[in-house]
């Protein structure tokens, strides 16, 4: 077997391969590790953390839709303190890159969380969730507003020297403007995209199928949208992009890299095939061999228009 270099770099963050597991689809790593070898992946992004624990939204939280699903979990999480005490010891032993996702309802809370978590050695980078569509405060209120995204990036940047990734909302008209302000304010990369706002009704009861009325759409249904957003950023802003949206297999991964993604995150597929990440890494190896690609990173933004 010829040697293929699968590693990629996002600023100073070095990943052994571009396959990451997305926040909110791997918990804190422990459950999914029963099905898959996380050390073979580029890394995992832990479930959104807020300063204090959040119990999340009442049921029903999820519903399946054509080739996708809607969720409104409501950022249920253990909070920063329990995360450090109870989840970090497990994450520490994983031998993979740990990206810690933070969600908050105020700029001060983003800053406070980042401050507390920055000294934790196990955390290799931060992903700031400014785009959760399912909570009343924060979330999309920030994600839809250029000034807020700029301000959050600037303030969080000031309290951490670790790689800083901002997770962008697709529910905006020009996503590249958000990527531009992240770059200007010192962010190292953007993740694109978070879920798309959607809803679904029961025609017999005329009630929404999820209690929160709207939820975030994910899965293969959103892949073309996500690809277009990645491409838009790639063509307008010079910043590393982590592509997310409906990736089910290695072919989807290659497609995202061609459109401009330096790395990718797998989300919904983890619920269906928790070993998908490892299978994708294997698929990337054989694709590179067949295509005589020595460095996978050569694929990034290699689209031919």
């Amino acid at each position: 077997m010829s040697y293929t270099e699968l590693s990629v770099s996002i600023g100073k963050l070095h990943l052994k391969n571009p396959v990451l597991l997305a926040s909110g689809t791997v918990g804190y790593g422990n459950e999914i590790s029963q099905f898959t070898d996380l050390s073979k992946l580029g890394g995992i992004v832990t479930k959104s953390l807020s300063l204090k624990p959040r119990k999340g939204n009442p049921p029903q939280r999820i519903v399946e839709t054509p080739s996708g699903m809607l969720n409104a979990i409501g950022l249920a999480n253990v909070g920063v303190e329990v995360f450090i005490k109870e989840k970090i010891p497990f994450l520490k032993e994983l031998n993979t890159t740990i990206i810690c996702n933070i969600a908050a309802s105020s700029i001060e809370e983003y800053v406070e969380c980042t401050k507390i978590l920055t000294p934790v050695d196990t955390i290799n980078a931060f992903e700031i969730n400014v785009s959760c569509p399912n909570v009343k405060e924060g979330g999309l209120i920030f994600g839809n507003d250029l000034n807020s995204v700029g301000r959050i990036t600037e303030m969080v940047r000031a309290v951490t020297n670790k790689p800083l990734i901002i997770k962008l909302s697709p529910n905006v008209s020009r996503i590249c403007e958000f990527a531009r302000i992240v770059k200007e304010e010192g962010g190292d990369a953007v993740s694109a995209i978070n879920t798309l706002v959607g809803t679904s009704f029961d025609i017999w009861t005329r009630k929404p199928k999820i209690k929160n009325v709207t939820g975030g759409l994910s899965g293969p249904a959103i892949k073309p949208v996500a690809l277009a957003k990645v491409l838009e950023i790639k063509r307008n802003v010079d910043i590393p992009i982590i592509g997310i949206g409906g990736i089910m297999n290695w072919m989807d991964t290659v497609e995202f890299m061609i459109a401009g993604a330096t790395a990718v995150q797998l989300g919904t597929v983890n619920f269906i095939n928790p070993n998908a990440g490892v299978e994708i890494v294997e698929g990337l190896h054989s694709y590179c061999e067949k295509q005589s690609i020595q460095k996978l990173s050569d694929l990034i933004g290699s689209f031919q228009l």
Binding site: G24, T25, V26, G27, E31, I32, Q34, F35, K55, G56, P58, P59, Q60, R61, I62, V63, E64, P66, S67, G68, M69, N71, I73, A76, G219, P220, M248, T268, N270, F271, I272, N273, P274, N275
Partner: protein, 252 residues
């Protein structure tokens, strides 16, 4: 926990819309306990996208049995499987029934397709336990007796057995158990479980209920299947903390 590609051995109808599916799944069969469940991918395509949760009905050597009603696209596809088709099964998942410990009589309470987990439980109950089973259905056309022991039937319309619901039937029969240590094992629609929860708390009887919910992953990462804890200040996940709960633990 395993992801096991499992070959269909046979599939048969119990009722026009109720099926029993037998698959060869040696890994899962060696580990699964009564009341646990599996999350099944019914097709290889993205439609339907998510797995479907099914409780284990019976284990026969290396074979698993699942009992299900057809009520949506996923179960319709599953009902059309043929011998030697291969399906992708993830399991065993969740916490099953606790049938060990100090009690003399197991009362099985099943509402409709909620009967599904009980053949395996009955099979595994220690031999010193007495068993009596109660099944409630809409009418005589919805009665399932598969795998049950000492079965009493109720129907909403009285077309078979006791006229009324399964909880009313249990209440009407309960005097015979007054001097025994009873443990109820229940599975069925939420209103039934709720009535049984109230009944068991009022009479200070141990009661384990098997709950259900839409879910994506089945093992705790999607957080899609919360159920209120009894105090109402937090949630359990049905997939990971359940699906079987002590009736006192949850708010239905």
């Amino acid at each position: 926990m395993y992801i096991e590609k499992s070959r269909v051995e046979w599939i048969k109808n119990l009722l026009p819309d109720t099926y029993l599916l037998c698959v060869h799944s040696p890994l899962i069969a060696s580990r699964i306990k009564p009341g646990q469940f599996c999350n099944i991918k019914v097709s290889e395509s993205d439609f339907p996208l998510l797995r479907r949760p099914f409780s284990i009905c019976e284990v026969d050597g290396e074979f698993l049995h699942f009992m299900f009603d057809v009520h949506g696209e996923g179960t319709k596809i599953l009902s059309n499987k043929l011998k030697d088709d291969v399906i992708d099964i993830l399991g065993p998942l969740g916490n099953g029934f606790d049938y060990t410990g100090d009690y003399s009589t197991a009362i099985i309470a099943a509402g409709g397709i909620g009967i599904a987990p009980f053949p395996h439980l009955i099979h595994k109950l220690p031999s010193d336990k007495k068993v009596i089973s109660f099944f409630g259905g809409r009418s005589k056309n919805n009665v399932i007796e598969y795998g049950m022991k000492k079965l009493l039937i109720s129907t909403d319309d009285g077309s078979s057995g006791f006229k009324g619901n399964v909880v009313q039937m249990i209440e009407s029969q309960f005097d015979q158990f007054r001097n025994e240590t009873v443990r109820i094992f229940a599975c069925g629609p939420n209103p039934m479980l709720k009535a049984l929860q109230e009944f068991s708390i009022k009479n200070n009887i141990e009661c384990q209920i098997s709950t259900e919910s839409a879910m994506a992953c089945g093992f705790g990462i999607c957080q899609g299947c919360p159920i209120d804890n009894a105090d109402g200040d937090g949630y359990y996940l049905i997939c990971k903390d359940g699906p079987v709960f002590d009736a006192k633990m949850v708010k239905l």
